[in-house]
Amino acid sequence: MTEQAIEEKKSESKEWEPKIIAFLCNWCSYAGADLAGVSRIQYPPNIRIVRVPCSGRINAYFIIKSLTDGWDGVLISGCHPGDCHYISGNLVARRRFAIIKELLEFFGIEPGRVNFMWASAAEGERFAVLVRKATEIVKKLGPNKKFEKKW
């Protein structure tokens, strides 16, 4: 489809689609997403993927910055606990994720916008299932308005 045709189609369709930024760890989740691709498992086109070496690399700044800079949702995926390529990166990250979720909820910012998951390199199907789930959750929350700046 040409760019013009897509713009036309977009203005036709009234349904809003969320844009979710997904941080995937290189060793497990990025490979799992690749496997979903290789296996042609389909999932909705709402995520944009950023590769990181490990889920432990994720700083709270990335998550909050994503919300302030217009992304409707954030998805972070790493290796299952115990399987981290770097031994414990996902385990230190898990505690950070818990705090972020709790604080978002406490501030009344929809915690469903930020989702965390584990998916291994062999779990293409699981990756797609959880992406679909996250997309559904964010879609129900509607566009991200709380961080819209006035100036």
């Binding site: 230190v92 604080l103 406490f106 501030f107 009344g108 961080f147």
Partner: protein
């Protein structure tokens, strides 16, 4: 025993201990509180000789967290001849906790300071009193019985302390510095060790049970008056970073304006940085020129950390703080899972 009497006794005792420490050269300087420039304020003071000991005060207006003065980047307590000076710190419970937590973060060496333990019974919520007095000038503040008496040119008002205490202090269970039993000679007033700290966090229960929209309403309204003066950051002992996240460039993370999203993000991230580190001293709220109540956030942080990681900050310098630790069995109920 009334508040007035308690404070007076502790103050006398404190001056005695301070005198003794300075005389016996056990410390080179002592950081404590002195009378402030305005009636409702107090100020920190650093004394280095016995003759200044009477400047030390103790009352319910001592809100600053003195641990802050031990963390600036340039070591302040260094003498060109003597080297590192020995410092004594007048510590109510939260100040002592802050010192112990900073020791676990390698910012202080506990054997180089003397924690002078004081049993605190709370700090008054100065902003609330000011709001109720309104625009009239306050000329004198005193404690009588269990009330704070505020006098002006043509008014006198009594504020029962139990009600006008800072919210954080109402729920406080750690009123004297932990580990105080290790140095009984440094203890002023009643100072036995804690056995079992049970905290139900009932003070934030009401807020926690609100819906997401109600929470957002409440917090965004409360924070909307923030002028980004960073008094809260300056008063907090845990905010010792050389480069605060709001000041970073390459990359610039967040905006510094008073636009609501920018304000929310500043407080949200600062709270995130405080997880497992905040000792709930309330200094941040009490120094805020706009009177923002940051207390509920601080208490929520304590609750999260206690429930998830069974951790209370500032009790033991050898216990790893939760954000640098992990357990295989950490709760992960928030993770997305297949149905």
């Amino acid at each position: 025993m009334g508040l007035e009497t308690e404070n007076k006794e502790i103050e006398i005792s404190l001056r005695e201990v301070a005198r003794g420490l300075l005389k016996d050269k056990k410390v080179d300087v002592i950081i404590g509180y002195k009378k402030g420039t305005l009636p409702l304020l107090s100020q920190p003071i650093i004394i280095d000789s016995e003759k200044d000991v009477d400047k030390l005060i103790w009352n319910n207006l001592c809100y600053v967290n003195l641990a802050k003065y031990l963390v600036p980047r340039v070591p302040r307590f260094v003498d060109s001849e003597k080297g590192n000076l020995k410092v004594g710190v007048v510590s109510k419970g939260c100040v002592g906790r802050a010192l112990i937590h900073l020791a676990s973060e390698n910012k202080i060496k506990l054997d180089e300071i003397k924690i002078i333990g004081i049993p605190c019974n709370g700090v008054v919520n100065r902003q609330r009193i000011e709001m109720e007095i309104g625009e009239k000038e306050i000329l004198e503040v005193s404690v009588s019985g269990n009330s704070i008496i505020v006098k002006g040119k043509d008014f006198e008002k009594e504020f029962p302390f139990d009600e006008y205490m800072n919210d954080l202090c109402k729920g406080c269970k750690i009123r004297k510095p932990p580990l105080v039993s290790k140095a009984p000679d440094l203890c002023v007033g009643e100072c036995e060790e804690y056995s079992n700290i049970v905290d139900e966090f009932t003070d934030i229960e009401e807020f926690d049970s609100k819906t997401a929209e109600e929470k957002w309403e409440h917090i965004s309204e409360a924070l909307s008056v923030c002028t980004r003066c960073y008094a809260c950051r300056e008063a907090c002992p845990m905010c010792y970073c050389n480069l605060c996240f709001v000041d970073q460039n390459k990359p610039v993370w967040f905006g510094k304006t008073t636009d609501l999203p920018d304000i929310i993000v500043y407080h949200l991230i600062r709270a995130y940085h405080m997880a497992g580190r905040c000792v709930a001293c309330g200094a941040c709220s009490l120094v805020c020129p706009m009177g923002i109540d940051l207390n509920i956030i601080n208490r929520k942080l304590e609750k999260i950390v206690k429930e998830r990681f069974d951790f209370t900050s500032g009790l033991d310098p050898d216990v790893l703080p939760p954000m640098v630790d992990f357990k295989m069995e950490d709760a992960q109920e928030f993770m997305l899972e297949e149905d």
